[in-house]
Structures are given as C-alpha cells and as structure tokens.
C-alpha cells in the first residue's frame, strides 16, 4: 500500500511535531515563561492535529490510505518489523480525536498547571508537565499510526510510560498534598498493571509471528483466515489481556481509579479520552481476527459488559469527584469493549469518540471544580480564618461531601458540567445518546445477555451522574471552602466550551440512517451500519430519566448536610459498603498477589538465596567444609596418623582411654610409619593384585 499522493508523506510529522515540541521545551524551556512553554506544547499538539486533518483530507480523496516507511526497525531472520506509518480511516479517526482533544487539553492545562504548581509550591515542574504531555501525544500517535502490531506496541508501552510519569507527576505527595509515596505508588501500580496487559499483547504478537510470519496488519489479516481456530482463540485471548490492561477491564481495571492522582488534565486526556481507549482501537484494528471467532467475540463482549456494570456499581459509592468519573470511565470503556467485542466496531468507535468529548469535558470541569475549591481553600488560609485548624487537618478539595451549592460560585463550570452529565447519561439528543444506543441496539441483536447488563449499567450511569451533580452543584455548601470557591479563568473554560459543543453535537457523526462514521470506517474494516432500534432507545431513555429521578429523590429532595452518611447506605446496607470500598478488590489483590509476591521475593532473596544458598551452602557447606577438610588433612593425617590409626585400633580392641593417652607420639616415627605404610601398600598391591 505505497501511496505517496497528497499529504500522506507528511504522516510521520504527526509524531515528529510533538517530539520536536518536547525537545524544544527540554532544551530551551528553562529560559521561557510558562506561557512560552505552554505555547510550544500547544503548537506541537496543534500541528499534529493539522497533520491529522491533512491526512483526513487526503483520505477523503484516496480512501484506500497509505503506508509510509520511515526506517527499518527489527529485522532478524524472517522477522521484519519496520517503522511504517499507516494512514487509513481508522487510524486517522484516532489521530483526529487524540490530537484534537489533546490540543484542547493542552490549552486548558496551561491555566490549570499554572495554579497547580503553585498550590504544590514547585513551579519548576510546569515545564516537565508539558514535556510529558507532548511525549504522550507522540506516543499515542505512534500507537494509532503504526502499521504493525509491534509498532503499535511501542506506542502502547510508550503511553503507559507517560501515564506512569503523569500519574506520578506529584510523586512526592499524596493526592492531598502531604509528603508520601502514595502518588508514586499509584503511578507504579498503573505501569505494572499495564505491563501485565502488555505481557498478553506480547504473547499475541509472538503467536502471530510464528503462525503468520509477520506482525504487520495487512500481512496478518491476509492469512488469518487460514489459521486454525485454536490459534485465533488464543491470539484473541492474549489480545484481550492486553486490552484489559490498557483499557481497564476486569480484572486489570484497578489501576485506573488510582490514576486520578495525576493532575486533572492528565485524567482527562490520558485516563478518559485517549490512552484508555487504545484497547478499543486495538480490537477494532484486529477486527479481521475477532470476526473469525464467535467464542472470542463472546468472551470480549462479556468481559466488557461485566466491567461496565461492575464499575458502575462502584461509581455509585464514591465521594471523590474524580473517582466517580474514573469508575464511570471504566464503565464506559466496558461499553466500548463490549461493542467492539460484538463486532459493532463502528458503534464502539462512535462511542469512543463521543466519550472522548464528554468525558474530557467532565474531567476538565471537575478539575475546574477542584481548582475552584483549592482557590477557596487558599483564600481562607490566606485570610487567616481558622488557620490553625487547616494546618492540622488536611482539606480534600475533591471530596464531594465538602462541596454543595457550587452552581452559584462557579456558574460556567456548572453549565459545562451539566452538558457533560447529560451526554454521559445518554439523554436525547446529546452525543452519548446516539453512541450508546447504537451499542445497545447491536447488543440486543447479537448478545442479549450483554444487552441486559449494559442496560443496567446505563441505568446506573444516569444515577451516579445525577447523584454527583446534586451533591456538587446543588444544595447548600457543606464546607466553608465550598462557600468561597471561585470560578476558573477563561483559558480553562474556553476549551471546555469547545468540548461542550462537541458533546452536544457529536452525535451527528454517526446519526442513524446517515452513518457518516461507519461509511468512513468501512474503507478500513469490514463493518455494517447498525440499525436504529426505537424500542431500545426508548427503554434506555426511560431508564435514564428514572435513574435521574431516583437520584433526585435521594440527594436533592433532602440535600445532604455536613457529615451526614450517604442516604443509599441506609437502603442498600452492606452492598453500599461494598460499593464504597470498591468491592474490596484492591485489598484482595494486595492480599492475594502483591503481598504474596513480596513475601515470596523476600523468601527467595533472604531465605533461599542468601541464608540458604549464599550463607549456608556456599559459605558453610562448601567453604567451611573445605576448610574443615583442610584442617582434618593438615592435622590428623600429617601429624597424628599414628594417633588416628591407633585410635581406631585401640577402640577396636577396647583399650581404655587412659592407656591410649599414654601412647607417645614421636614425630620422626610417625613419618617413618607413613613411609612404611606406603611401602606396605605398594608391595602389597604389587604382590596381591
């Protein structure tokens, strides 16, 4: 697929621009102001967006796309992996979303980080943030534009690294700004969990190579149909492990909630809009493989659906504004994975895009809320109100129980948040409605059990979003900080408005009947447009409205007061405790895996390797045994051979030890005796042999 027409040749720049940006910031960033740094980063990201747009334009003329070889990478034997960029409708869709949303978030971050670094008393890290952010864009571009599984994997791990770096951005604190290893633990957890997923990815790649002699998409898809079913099944399962890691599916989703330790733009960009959807992209990309195995589709769809509902239940029980969104993200990722698992690739991609819009919007608005709270907190602390009190007890600006009534303090943010909420809840005609319904409609046809589970999840989605909005923006401030919260500046809200607009009108991308996106993607993957199912749409809309009503009943009719336990607790009892505590999955993992591995490692290191192998075996058995033997040979044989032999003889004839001690040891005699011994042995051997 060598196509060098139009702007296809420019595609490597989609990576080079962000890299250039980060290098610029690395080298000359020190001399620039914050705005300068931000400008470079935004420009880098925006340039990537421009490249993506150019690609889209080129594709609109040459929809068959192109592969652009940059350099050879790993050529060993019959293994040939190259740095080849792939331009097709699917990759360009992702490029557009990533660079588009990314650019908006870059802009937002200039404002956000300006304040964030000041709240943390470390202004030096402003530059570092944008370097990482640009690196992320570059890696994400590698991920989506790679022409082979292995190049995809480079981006795959690369974004994992960026995720690690950005979650641990405030590595010396916990989420509340206290000195701690907590944030870095979260970062580490994300990386390691992702690595578990990568393990699956790698095995899938190995299997592909040995079965199909290539990891190149086209080459693999060309011959995959001839493969035996078990091969397909295993490849898909291994891919699923990778997807579970990256896209936070059961059982590897655990890192994502902790990832909220990163600054909010990071949560929005990486852990909601782009990186976590890489798994969805991967499955979509691997559509020709998944299509071949009904079992694989079944497994993937089920995993996605279960994740969707499981995470949604947890989201219901969270108090942290970002944690709710995080679990919501997991849940929505479950929707997407279920969709692509069922073969509803267009629906999955559609939801991916709309979700990127409204979830980014929600996260960024949440960031705005948190910063607003921080500002209030700051304001209070500076004005000396209850200064002593604040020093003792750390204030959590993200805790919804501290909020309430923010609608008045932060009106812009409130409205933006509302748009996002409605879109997420899937109310007509917002973007979320169209994409979610397309998934549900497909599920209804393909896997009824998935449909029912997802419907339940959708219901919960509307419920927890309602709960959140009531708790955050309505009622009375439950903390004096909330009463002093301040609105965010324009540099932060402006990108949000763009996102809000996209959230409202994003549904237009793939409206029933028109199927713009589907048609677009059809050039790349073999898909069929989904049918709009009125029944499904109605049921889900009704359920969503009912859920919002329920949440209104619980949280709005009698707004929460300070220190009041969640009203759901009364109703659900233990079940809510489970939700609050994330069903104790983290604890279980810690107990089953982390602690056991730590113990095992300690056991190996201390007991097996050091105490046993190093100290006991090498030092005691080998070394000491050797020394002992030496001493034995040095002393008894050389000095006391007479003693020893006579000792044995003496014992054998029952001599008393008294008598034995009287045996006098003449050394010359001993020596002579030794000679004699040799003589007798030699003569004896010669005569008797």
């Amino acid at each position: 697929m060598e196509n060098t027409q139009l702007f296809f040749n420019f595609v490597p720049w989609i990576v080079f621009f962000p890299v250039l940006g980060l290098l610029l910031n690395l080298t000359i960033g020190k001399k620039l102001s914050e705005n300068g740094i931000g400008a470079i980063a935004v420009l880098a990201s925006a340039s990537a967006f421009v490249v993506a747009v150019l690609q889209a334009y080129s594709l609109s003329i040459h929809p068959e796309g192109a592969s652009i070889l940059v350099a050879e990478w790993i050529h060993v034997g019959d293994l040939a992996i190259d740095w080849t960029f792939r331009v097709d409708t699917l990759s360009v869709t992702m490029m557009l979303v990533v660079s588009g949303v990314g650019t908006l978030i870059h802009i937002y971050a200039i404002g956000y980080m300006h304040e964030d670094v000041r709240f943390h008393n470390d202004e030096g890290r402003f530059k570092r943030f944008f370097v990482f952010l640009n690196l992320f864009i570059a890696m994400m571009m590698v991920l989506v534009s790679g022409d082979s599984y292995m190049m995809l994997f480079v981006g795959w791990e690369g974004v994992g690294l960026c995720s690690f770096l950005l979650i641990g951005f405030w590595y010396d604190f916990d989420t509340l700004g206290r000195p701690s290893f907590a944030n870095s633990n979260a970062a580490k957890k994300a990386f390691i969990t992702n690595r578990i997923g990568d393990f699956g990815f790698l095995l899938a790649a190995f299997m592909m190579f040995w079965q199909f002699k290539s990891t190149n998409f086209d080459n693999v898809f060309a011959v995959v149909a001839n493969a035996e079913p078990w091969v397909i099944l295993w490849i898909t399962i291994f891919i699923l492990v990778g997807v579970a890691g990256k896209s936070a599916q059961i059982p590897l989703y655990i890192w994502l909630p902790d990832a909220m330790a990163g600054p909010t733009p990071v949560s929005a960009l990486i852990h909601a809009a782009t990186m976590v959807t890489a798994g969805v992209y991967l499955v979509t990309r691997s559509a020709p493989i998944f299509m071949l195995s009904h079992d694989a589709q079944y497994i993937v769809a089920t995993v996605g659906a279960l994740t969707a509902i499981f995470a949604a239940t947890i989201a219901v029980g969270q108090y942290d504004i970002k944690k709710v969104l995080a679990y919501s993200t997991i849940s929505q990722l479950g929707f997407m994975v279920a969709a692509v698992g069922m073969g509803a690739f267009a629906a999955g991609m559609f939801h991916l895009i709309t979700h990127a819009f409204f979830k980014a919007l929600l996260f960024l608005s949440a960031g705005s809320v948190i910063l607003g709270m921080e500002r209030g907190h700051h304001h209070l602390a500076h004005h000396g109100h209850h200064g002593g009190k604040h020093d003792e007890e750390v204030f959590d600006p993200g805790d919804m129980r501290n909020m309430g009534g923010l609608r008045k303090q932060m009106p812009v943010t409130f409205w933006l948040y509302m748009v996002g909420t409605v879109a997420l809840a899937g109310l007509f005609p917002f973007a979320g409605f169209w994409s979610k319904d397309e998934i549900l409609a497909d599920a209804f046809l393909e896997f009824p059990h998935v449909y029912w589970i997802l419907t339940g999840a959708a219901f919960l989605t509307a419920f927890y979003m309602g709960r959140q909005v009531w708790m955050v923006f309505f009622g009375k401030p439950r903390h004096e900080v909330a009463a002093h919260a301040e609105e965010s500046p324009l540099i932060m809200t402006a990108p949000l408005m763009v996102l809000a607009a996209l959230s409202v009108f994003g549904g237009a991308l793939n409206l029933p009947g028109v199927h713009t996106l589907t048609v677009w993607l059809e050039h790349t993957i073999d898909i069929h447009p989904g049918e709009f199912n009125m029944q499904v749409a109605l049921i889900s809309t009704a359920l969503a409205l009912f859920a919002i009503f329920l949440s209104w009943l619980l949280y709005m009719r009698k707004p929460l007061t300070t220190g009041q336990p969640d009203p759901l607790k009364r109703i659900l009892g233990f079940a809510f405790t489970g939700m609050e505590n994330k069903w104790f999955v983290d604890e279980a993992y810690k107990f089953v895996f982390i602690d056991r591995y730590t113990d095992l490692a300690k056991f190996f290191a201390q007991t097996v390797d050091w105490d046993f192998w190093h100290e006991w075996f090498h030092n005691s058995v080998i070394a000491a045994g050797f020394v002992g033997l030496t001493k034995f040979l040095a002393n008894p044989i050389d000095l006391g051979i007479v003693d020893n032999i006579s000792k044995i003889l003496a014992r054998s004839i029952q001599y008393s030890s008294e008598n034995f001690r009287k045996v006098q040891n003449g050394f010359v005699r001993s020596y002579a005796l030794s000679v004699m011994l040799g003589v007798v042995a030699i003569i004896g051997y010669l005569l008797i042999k």
Binding site: A71, E72, W73, I74, H75, V76, G77, D78, L79, W83, D122, G124, M150, F153, V154, W156, E157, G158, L161, F164, G168, Y171, D172, F173, P179, S180, F181, N183, S184, N185, A187, K188, F191, I192, R195, I196, D198, F199, L202, L203, A205, F206, M207, F209, W210, Y597, T598, L600, A601, K602, F604, A605, Q606, D609, W613, H614, F617, H618
Partner: protein, 506 residues
Amino acid sequence: MNFLLEPLNLVTFFPLLGVLVLLFIKSEAKNTIRWVALGTALVNFGISLWALSMFNSSNPDLQLASQYSWIQVAGWNIQYYLAVDGLSILLVLLTTFLTPIAILSTWTAIEDRVKDFMVFFLMLEVGMLGVFLAQDLFLFYIFWEFTLIPMYFLIGIWGGPNRLYAAVKFFLYTMAGSILMLLAILWLGVNQGTFSVPELVLKGGIPADVQLWLFIAFAAAFAIKVPMWPLHSWLPDAHVEAPTAGSVILAGVLLKMGTYGFLRFNLQLFPEAAVKAAPTIAVLAVIGILYGAAVSYSQKDVKKLVAYSSVSHLGFVMLGMFALNAQGIEGAILQMINHGLSTGALFLMVGMIYEQTHTREIAVYGGLWKITPIYGSLMLIVALSSMGLPGLNGFVGEFTILLGAFGSKAFGTPIYAILSAIGVILAAIYILYMFQKMFLGPVGKIVEEVKHHGHELRDLNAREIITLLPLLVFIFWIGLYPAPFFNLIAPAVDKLLIPFRAILGG
C-alpha cells in the same frame, strides 16, 4: 612490526602501551595517570572502530585474522590466532567502548593507588579483548584465566569493606569452572588434533555422547561466569564489593564472556549436544529470569538489586541463545550489548550517588528526582532501558529473544517464552520499586545526613554527564534503529545456525 600493525593485534595489545607509559609516571601525578589511561582507552576505542571499518559485515566468516603458529612441537598444534566475526565484533566494540567510560567514572572515586588501578584496568581490557578475539582454544584459555587476575585485584584492593571475601570468591568460583573447561579443551586438542576453533568446527565429528560431556565441561566454566542460576552466588558479593568501574566492567563485559563462550564454543563445537541441552538450559534460564527478578525486588542494597537483575537479564540471553533460531541468537547477542550498556550505566549511576552519600541502602533515599533532576531523568531512561521499554535498547533484545524462544524448535514448546515474559513484568516491578524508593516520594533522610557532613547533595557534574552520555546515545540508537547492529551479527548467526537447521529441520 607488521605483527603489531594488524588491527586485531593492535586493538588487543595497545592498552599495554598505556601500561608501559604509566609505569614511568610517578604515582603522585594522579591526574596525569588518569589522562594517560583515559587517552589509551579512547585511542583503543578508535582503533577498534578502525578495525570495524575494515570488517565486512556481509561475510559470515572470521575476518581480520592474525594467525601465527605458536607452539608447534611433538604433534602439538597451538596457534596464535586472533580473528573476529559477527559473533564477537560487537562485544569487542562494547569492551573498548565501556573501558574509557569506566575509567572516566573513577576520576574522583579512586584516589588511592591510582596508578596501580589504571594498570590493572588496562590489563583487564587486554584480557577481555583477547577472550573475544582468540580463535585458538589454548590462547582463549590463557586470556580467559588472565582476566581473572586484574579483576581480582580491582575488587580486592579498591573494593568495599568485605572485598577480600568477594575477591577470593570471585576468583575461586570462576576458576572452578574453567578447570573443567581446560580438560575439555585438552580433550579436543588431543582427539581432534587441533586447538583452532574454526578448524574444529570444520572437522566436527565428535561422537554425540562425548559431545555432551564436553558441552557440560565448557558450560561449567561459562555458566558460572554468566552466571546462570544456581551458580550465581559469587555475583552479588563481587558486584557489591567491587569499585564502581569494576562493577561496570564486570557486568558490562566480564559476564558476557560467559554467554559469548556458550555461543562461540558450546554452540559451534557441539551442536548436537546443544540441541539436547537446550530444554535444560531453558529451564535454568527461566528460573534465573524469574528468580533473579524476585530476588532483586527484595533487596535493600541498590547495588545488590542491580547485581541480581543481571541474573535475570542474562537468563534472557541464555534463553535466546538456546532457542537456536535466528531471532533467539541475534536477540541474545544484542541483549549482551544492551545489558552491558544498561546495567553498566546503572552501576555507574549508583556509583555516582554512592560517591556522595556513601550508602547504598535504598531506604535512606527518596525524592532524589526533585533534588537532582538530571540524575533522576537519566536514571529513569536507564531504568526503562533495563526493563525493556520499547523504543529503548532493552526491548529490542528482549523482544527478539522471547520471540525466538516462543517458536523455538529446540525447546519445542512456547512455555519457556511465556514464563520468561512474566519476567518482563517482574522486571518492571523491581526496577520501578528501585526508582520509586530512590527518586520518587518524599525527600529521604540521606539528604539531611549529607548536609550534616557539610556537603550538599549535588546533581551530576559535567564529567559525570559526559560519562553517561555515550551510553544514552546507544540506548536510544539500538532502541530505535538497531539495524546496523543486527546487520553486523546476522551473517555470522546464519552460518552458526546451519548445523541446527540440519538437526531441527527448517
């Protein structure tokens, strides 16, 4: 004179010239000594590049040979025979490349008996180069044993508090392996009538049962050196006690002598035995990978952590090598280089902080990235390279190795590759653990302690950055564009694989 102008002779023995010069410099002129040593090592690196320029990478055979009959009496046929091929060229370059870097790292770390140190160091370089270049078993054995001597002194004189124990242990364990190899070498010389490796390869025809014994005898020497589990017990001692430069060379080059030995001798000379032994080696390698990673994770001493990580990394090398296919072996060779670069850099960096704080206990560190940002960032890159992040060198090696092992006909099952791939996860765990506890989190108490002694914990200085920079260049280069390196290796590996293709089919 012609003898000395042959590139391989020149590259091998040039450091001796430096030694000679050093002998005439007063011990007090420490800086002169350092410059002379560094200059010698750098020139030698240049010479090795010159040799590389003459190396024809498409030729799978031994090249640039310097071959003279040496001891030829009474049916004894020992040659002076140095030559290089794709299997060894990279290791030669690695040696000449790491030596100046290691010397540079000692600039302020070694103040005591600088002259002796440099003399031993340059002699060590001679020995290592000889090992990689010798194509006569006797000559190889001489160089092999010779490397022990300077290393022994480097550990024993300039090492840590427990250096005597470590030095003697290092010496005896390595020697213990090599004596069996000596017997095997003699068997070959006696029964095959030649000590020349290429001739032996050509001749072949060693009965299968004997091959296995010889294989074991050679493997004993190399496995201890690698070190393969469970023969690794000398390694933590040697590494922890050795001075930084010693650790760098030990991890960077000396361990590779073991893996190289497997490649050059065990695979080339005893192909049938190698096929037979492959599953066993794979089991040991897998245990080494997982065990090394687990044990690393539990270390409190950062140098020990890095030392044990070598057990894990070299497990990968062994696994790849005995996959007996192109991917496995080429990956293994590249991974030898990668490990030399990454682990060498890790040791260098551990040494740099140790020089300031005099402690290697992980727990006292923390938050270093904030205090020493350059150091932290470089450490991050090196750590990522060590755990095999795509785009950096470690990945290219590990990936090709695992890929090779996955489809290896010699193993017959992908299970080894799958288990080893778990090692990739575990690598992330211990590396990140190390990085987190030292560089992330709140600022550790060591910073205060250093202040207490009237110093300020400083970031890397220019010399230290210059020391690390070449390593970083290669870390990225190999990670992003390893083609030039693979191209050097590939023809020789293809040739190496011919007998295995015959045995295993395909």
